[in-house]
Symmetry: D4
């Protein structure tokens, strides 16, 4: 039952064609989203970033292109994450404006380049091996209308490199920090700034890194109070949360 049906029902009541009890009964049992929650949902989609997202992993190029075509009817921007080369090629063939980022496997279509972010999102990573995750965060934040400042390869074992970027970091409105191994960079960055830091542990490492567990635990126990954490290798999540924060007016 959509709004038209509800209007029609109320019209019947007003016209005396349906009595109050019958209307009451029908209202009580109608699926509640028909009462406007679909609208709410639509509203939510609008505010959530003007960008639809497809998780590409495990889908065929044809499937991704099909879903993408349908979503692009309603949304100007589209982000595909964890896409392999074949998906990237197919999307670029079909949508010439598609950008493929091979390190992270992200594909982005930006027809609307409005800046929704109020400030700069800094995306930082500790080592070159963390770049794929950081790139996913960067691509996500850009797709959602943010100015992104990328700072790569500043680990805690080379503090002077971190310090050299402290001015840049202090200018950001929100910071995404990606790090594997011991995952200490978010604490160090968090101590330098007074804005929210979104920590993204990466699975970079071996042995007792346990596929990112060491970095994850390190970040959850950060001695910097402005750090919150998303899942291992979840660059998309880091970029997404940062975008929501940066849009706040």
């Amino acid at each position: 039952m959509d709004s038209d049906q509800l209007r029609s029902l109320l019209g019947q009541v007003r016209a005396g064609e349906m009595d109050v009890d019958a209307a009451l009964e029908r209202l009580k049992h109608l699926p509640f989203e028909d009462l406007g929650y679909a609208k709410l949902d639509h509203h939510r989609a609008l505010r959530h970033g003007l960008t639809e997202v497809i998780f590409g992993k495990g889908k065929t190029p044809e499937q991704v292109v099909g879903i993408a075509a349908r979503l692009l009817e309603k949304s100007q921007n589209l982000l595909v994450t964890r896409a392999n080369e074949a998906i990237g090629a197919e999307l670029k063939a079909k949508f010439p404006e598609a950008e493929y980022f091979p390190l992270s496997g992200a594909v982005r279509i930006r027809r609307n380049r409005t800046m929704y972010g109020k400030g700069t999102v800094a995306v930082v990573c500790a080592g070159t091996s963390d770049i794929p995750v950081a790139e996913e965060a960067q691509v996500t934040a850009e797709a959602m209308g943010n100015q992104v400042q990328v700072i790569y390869d500043i680990g805690v074992a080379g503090i002077h490199r971190l310090m050299a970027h402290s001015e840049q970091l202090m200018r950001a409105r929100v910071i995404v920090v990606c790090a594997g191994m011991e995952g200490a960079l978010p604490s160090a960055v968090g101590g330098l700034v007074s804005v929210p830091v979104i920590a993204v542990p990466t699975s970079v490492g071996y042995g007792a890194s346990f596929h990112g567990l060491a970095a994850l635990l390190g970040m959850l126990n950060s001695c910097a109070s402005n750090v919150s954490v998303v899942n291992i290798d979840n660059g998309f999540g880091g970029g997404y949360v940062a975008s929501l924060i940066n849009r706040l007016e």
Copy 2:
């Protein structure tokens, strides 16, 4: 070496009393915080919330009162977390305006009640056993100058209770969600709103909750993209991150 010393050194150079090489040498080796980073740090403290924080656990009432007195010389507001009853009593005896929150063990002194938050911080919890953690988040956010909307006892196993609060949730600028056991509430809340959600897993539960691990893992794997996570039982961290977000202009 503070600014005065640096000024004096430059004065000597200008006066021709010290040559450039000698000055260069001294500058290269002076501890770098003497060059104004202490100021930076001071600035950071100012912007970080006008509220100094003491972790009360493991300290004697005398120690806490001593630290509190010293901090209150520079800061108008003070928050003590994880304080036992004895610490609470001692602080109230010494600082009559101190408020003691026995559930969470927080003690708060608010001499400056300026609102720094731009909107409302919602603090939500799943069950009555999660209230101590939620209270710590609430007390923290209030101490940092935020309007806080508290919504307790809305678990995912009673969705209608959650839905009944959807309007309130949608009005918040940032939401802290505390939940133990399966930790599913942040996902449900995250799906209803388009603002950042800070998830705080609690150690509420038994058996396979493994002291909050189940809730923590659940939240890290949230299917809602606007969720980031802090440590188990870290209500302070949830309230702190939310406050930083809410202060963004």
Copy 3:
């Protein structure tokens, strides 16, 4: 907005006092449980077993008695789990018909002794140390109106004891099996019968039992296909799920 308010609104529409658009608007934004979901909830409570449940752990005797009194206004039966002796004593003082089960810490008030179960619920445990958990399952199932057959102390290391009870087990409509240590009993019981088996791992054991983890993992990997599992030491959950199954007509 409850049914009366909704009726009144529809009456206003019918009487021409409110036009369709205004009514439409109000209907779209009213909290959805006002449309009868509270009733639904009430209905749910009715069907869920005529027994309200209080988790006693961490509550004072006064709190439990207070909640119990309120719940008993609406429900004839009441179950308190994980109650200590003080709570048990207070409840018996206030409600003379209360039964206190010291092994499991359950307290039960049964004013309605209707049998809702269609068959017998068997509650089985492996060793004497598992009895507190089994007792919680038994007390729960009885409180929800089931005939319960208790079979204690039949571990897999003494198969003849298990076999001696095979007839009893085969007569049950659903079986709750509580076991600690290696948690093998549900598989053995599951292989003997063709009805659902609810496995409750217990924290009985030491060393590599890891507080029930060994039993939990064993049960989840049962080679008997009719076994499903609840949380460690969750005798209440075992008895509750068994009761729901046994009520099915």
Copy 4:
């Protein structure tokens, strides 16, 4: 020794051809299943679902076809789980009525389509990636003679989608819920209904999902009391337990 042999022995005793002590000795040492337990076992097979099951993983197509042919001599229905395409093709070549379900790798032969279930089994899953596991549950429940209602893609981060299906869920007699990532859906479904919910954690996710551990722990800690759990990705187990419950008269 089967019944005939036992009858013969007793006949010899009665005829005076064997004395009591010799008979006693033989009876004490005969394998106990010869006393009718094989019958019991047969009986068990009959009641367990009229459907024999082969775990296909790790077997060659020839092996599976061989076992299938032998089982189909005694059973009208057959289910093969975790079969790869080659097994599927071979089975369809040999048994034309075989259905192959490529997502889950299930193969089903249904020569007996009697409905043994008394009501509907609902099979629900959270995301599209969980469909293979849900399909295994569905195919199993159907093979065991149940009406199955499939509801896919209703996660807790989109509660309105869940609510839109609440009527369907409330009509089911037992519900299987498959979910990966944070595994929160069983709690949400469990709170809506008053029938047993069998939760199947899936290995869908990455990073801190730890191959389904996060979902498993979440489900074991469900705040909904009507939830019990089977192994990760065990769609067969979910469908099987649900079938046993649905057959109860």
Copy 5:
């Protein structure tokens, strides 16, 4: 139904007082242990060591004394493990020949001092903190009729101490090795001898010993092929398995 009853039934058949079908029916349904399995069980008890065992933890002194009295009617020897001082005192008051071993909390009554073991059982431990576990193994093996050679405090970090005992070790027929921390001693001992080594990990240690997990894993991965392992702190199990091996003729 015991042997007498079975004899009586067969007698009735032989006497023509019961026909074959009726006898057949009764035989099929009688609990199978009545057919001599109780005897089997009794036999098992006899061969298992002439020593009954009570797990004392969690029992009151009165309960233990009661069980002990009953068991001593049938068994000459008795072992109580994990008994506290109160249990020890009560047992010594009631049974003057009882020996209490305060380190391990074992209590032993040996009325039959026959040696069943064919050789010597060596009980070895790595550090002084492991002695309680080793004592439990020693007391158990002695109670089961073995000559026990005790060698304490020979850790792998002092190989010369181990080597000094190599002759003693090589004379043993089976060796129990108790070790905490890194649990390396069983490998070192196992490499010196060619008899079975039963490894008992202890919970001695702190930090990353994780309550004996480190020692347990070490022993399971022993590079000596003659090592098998029992549960953490299970000195009783070590002594018991060693006794069974030493009794083999």
Copy 6:
């Protein structure tokens, strides 16, 4: 320095060609195995089973053949474990009497078929998927000169199958039990017999079996006291320990 050298040194002392201090000095620093420990080692090899063992995994066929040729100069029997098909083929080409067991990847050369075991070693497994591990145990025990009784496919979910083999089990002098999934079979077997049971957890299973961890923990927590455990999938270890036990006179 071997015995001859030591004899020569002592001869020099006796002959007055070396004084006491010089001899003392040399003796203190000579590698201690020169004093006969190499002999000990040789002795150890002899008693350890007349069978040399090569771990085939990760070695090339050429390497294995090379090592095998060298070992067969000193030992009549040889066992290669975890050999792939190529290694198996190469060994059979080179040593025609070599037997290759493809399920377990074991290769065995038995030139000496003396029976060293005093009784029968029973090798039992729970399901058909556990057969490779059980086969490794069987091949090992046979190679070390034991009569082996193989009993496959008797899981705890079909107790009657287990009971049907109870006589065979009771006749064994030592039993190796291989089981994956919940790993409950050793407890059930252990309860039936009074001889040592060596439990071998296998990695058979999926999901919460965690590659054999569930079975391992189950076996370590066995309620049967005669069970000790070796590493996951370590059929060789199970067969080896059983052989040592069975050789005890």
Copy 7:
């Protein structure tokens, strides 16, 4: 057999009182430490730091005093770790020069204050809660004859505090870094210096610190290559390893 006995034996050989074969036989079978390894061991003790160590935990004051008295006959310096107040008091009563360090529970007797260390050992800790562990490292290193530079409370979230101490850190010959929570400080310190860093994880933290596991994993995955790690809370181990390094000439 000590050197005197060996000398006597060789004297007998030289004097013709014992023939070569008899001497050979005795030499082969004597416990090998009699050949000077006891000396070796003594030597080892000498070089290991002139300081005997007693692990005080779990010992009575009387036991500790007794052991201490015996050790002080041979060693000038003594260290007792993990001593409670009672042990501390008793030791000070008996040995007036004993120093008791209540934070770490260390007791130290230094009669020999020779400096064996070639440079300075720096002991650093991240937060005030880590001080007990750092103190244990400091007391240990001092007891072993090292100049110790203590730097407390320099966490990675306040990098300027760390940088302010960089000169001190760069002057140390070896550094012990104690840190709990995320355990990031060793990486930051390791990046500043080119000497060995011994990382000591502490159990400081809560929730997902898992009693020091997070810090431990972080340190094992340090991106600074000069970091090695000891057990959680093992300040003694950190100080001991640092002392051995600092003594190297």
Copy 8:
């Protein structure tokens, strides 16, 4: 701003072209590494071993060659770890003096063969499967200018083999011990010597070795106090820390 710029600024002050306040302002805000910390970093590189290191894993041969060429402009020695055969071949083609070590995947270029180590570094491993990790340690230590003594295949289950090498071990200035499975060798070696032992756990093993976790935990709990630990399979780290220790004067 580099030194030249700073000199120029000071020159302007001296020349009266810039007043003190303006200079002060500029100095306060310049990135602190411009003040000489880059030099510090350079200094650090020099002292850190004259050897630059590339982690080869995940890089293409072209990338590695490119980085290598650039680094060799400034450094005489270069180490590439975890290089596959293709990288090895490419490096040897480009730099003829490159040595490729296929077991460990290390590639080394040594143009400067100065010995910086003061003594010998011993590199020990337990089994042949540990050799790749030990080789990485050896190659690293040699590349950093150390005399390396390699001792392979001395496990704790063959103590006489270890003892046979005790002289060699006692002559080393620092020892790297690589071991998988139970990881007991560092304790045994640590007990023999009085120098620092760097333990490297390897992932050698199966089942409950959990990819090196068992060895790692064993080493962290070593009863030898001179042992510190690096990450699983981190032969490079072991060799690197040992080199730093061996360089200390």
